[in-house]
């Protein structure tokens, strides 16, 4: 009876979730975005050093085995579509990531909305984020009044107009630590800062690892205090799939969205330089090797596609977390029909 009890207990959350997802679709349809479906099974998974893709073996009719992976995000396929002439596109899909917690902020199977704008940059995507929050929260007022929920149910926050603070990473560091991030853009300086802060870093830690030690311990409480915040301009070492600023290549055109300290979206002005992207993926392979993680071949079709990809910007926003924020649910399990913890609990 555990399964039906979980579903019954969260029935209104699940019902509201369904309407939230509908509103997200309406938001993008109104802006002339095309909804696309990408394969969930891919041959080459993402290379992010901290992600563990799930393996899946597929057999053809003769029993020949093909090793695939459940995608960790639809990013590579959507970029191949952009390179093939698609303009503004969005996808609402399940994504899969292994070795994550069953509940809390994670479920190994989760839902993402990912969208791309051609001839655009991160600032337009920031506008989208702010507008999608405002639009969905407003639409949900009508939904909630029509559903006649118990005890005059209301969303914790009904108005998201102008609710997001936009802050450069550099300004955040200045405000919290009173240091200039420009002075901490190399590994040795960041290492020194970590030692000074008594984080006991190891000698072989990468810039990114050291950066996150400071960010998580020092900035994160500030993000919680601010509430809704978009942090942008990341050090180039953490560019991932974003492009660097033409006028200041020490920083990358990347932003993240935090609500009460919880990261809910990550966005880039997308890197369109195939050679640079190949080099970064090779570096990530190296990093995976250092961390003792499985190493994957690089998707050369993806690299090649970048040669034809238009200038664009894109973002991945966690739908489950978006629902959590709108409904005020602390645990992701409360917005999922059957979370992993229920599937595998005795």
């Amino acid at each position: 009876m555990n399964h039906t009890f979980h579903i019954s207990k969260n029935k209104s959350n699940l019902e509201l979730r369904s309407h939230i997802v509908r509103c997200i679709r309406e938001f993008f349809w109104d802006k002339n975005f095309l909804e696309v479906e990408t394969p969930l099974i891919v041959r080459y998974p993402g290379q992010e050093p901290n992600l563990s893709p799930m393996k899946v073996d597929i057999r053809d009719e003769l029993g020949k085995i093909f090793r695939g992976h459940l995608h960790t995000s639809p990013e590579y396929t959507m970029k191949k579509m952009l390179a093939s002439g698609f303009k503004n596109i969005f996808s609402i899909c399940k994504c899969f990531r292994n070795e994550e917690s069953f509940g809390g902020l994670h479920n190994p199977e989760f839902t993402m909305v990912e969208w791309y704008r051609v001839s655009s940059n991160i600032f337009e995507i920031m506008d989208d984020v702010e507008q999608v929050f405002a639009f969905v929260a407003e639409e949900m007022q009508t939904v909630i009044s029509n559903l006649k929920l118990e005890n005059n149910y209301q969303l914790p926050i009904t108005n998201y107009q102008n609710s997001f603070v936009r802050m450069q990473m550099r300004d955040l560091w200045k405000e919290v630590l009173d240091v200039d991030l420009d002075d901490y853009l190399n590994r040795d300086k960041m290492f020194e800062l970590c030692v000074q802060k008594k984080y006991n870093p190891k000698e072989d830690e990468s810039y990114e690892e050291l950066f996150y030690r400071v960010f998580l311990n020092e900035m994160e409480p500030k993000l919680r205090e601010i509430g809704n915040i978009i942090v942008y301009h990341y050090p180039a070492q953490m560019a991932a799939l974003s492009k660097l600023y033409d006028d200041d290549p020490r920083y990358a055109e990347r932003f993240e969205v935090y609500v009460d300290g919880m990261e809910i979206a990550n966005a880039f002005s997308e890197l369109t330089d195939a050679g640079e992207q190949l080099k970064r993926l090779q570096d990530e392979q190296e990093e995976r090797r250092r961390l003792g993680k499985e190493i994957y071949d690089i998707d050369m079709e993806f690299i090649e596609s970048l040669r034809n990809m238009p200038e664009c910007a894109g973002i991945a926003l966690g739908v489950d977390r978006f629902v959590q924020v709108l409904l005020g649910c602390k645990n992701i399990n409360d917005v999922l029909v059957l979370p992993m913890s229920k599937l595998f609990s005795s």
Partner: protein, 188 residues
Amino acid sequence: MGDTTDIKKGTVVRHNGQLFVITSFQFVNPGKGQAFFKCKLKAIGGDKGMEITYKSGETIDTVQVQHTNLQYLYSSGDMYSFMNQSSYETVDVSADVLGDDSKFLKEGIDVVGSMQGEAIVAIQLPKKISYKVVTAPPAVKGDSTSGNVTKEIELDNGLKIQAPIFIKEGEEIVVNTETGEYGGRASE
């Protein structure tokens, strides 16, 4: 020495020379960045609380503790008394060691205490505890779209939880102490 796979409620760690016990933790993996465990800790023998963020896989200076079986007896004020089942002595544990877990305590249940020297620094509850239902409002067959599919019931130790509407007074039910949720009828 240990690493982040040792992180759980009750783990004792040494941080900058001082002993702390982990009271709660959360795993976070940003995907495009470092995965980490955000831990809340409490200083042993003091009130000082703090948060530490460990990188996933990082070495942690964990401290070995002794485990001892205890039986819960009663509470008085901010003190909870247990019987040490090997020495039959009564040991007192302060409310801040138990934290939110105190709401699950019920006379006679067996728990595991973590000892650091002579002090009990953490209590581990059984994963599931059975309780008798003392108050359960009768089920009202209502409009199912109103979301009225669970109800609040009260258990024999005063704990109130959400349960399915078919649960009646006098029944024995099980509560999952990790989630604080209804976990089925005791007989199921």
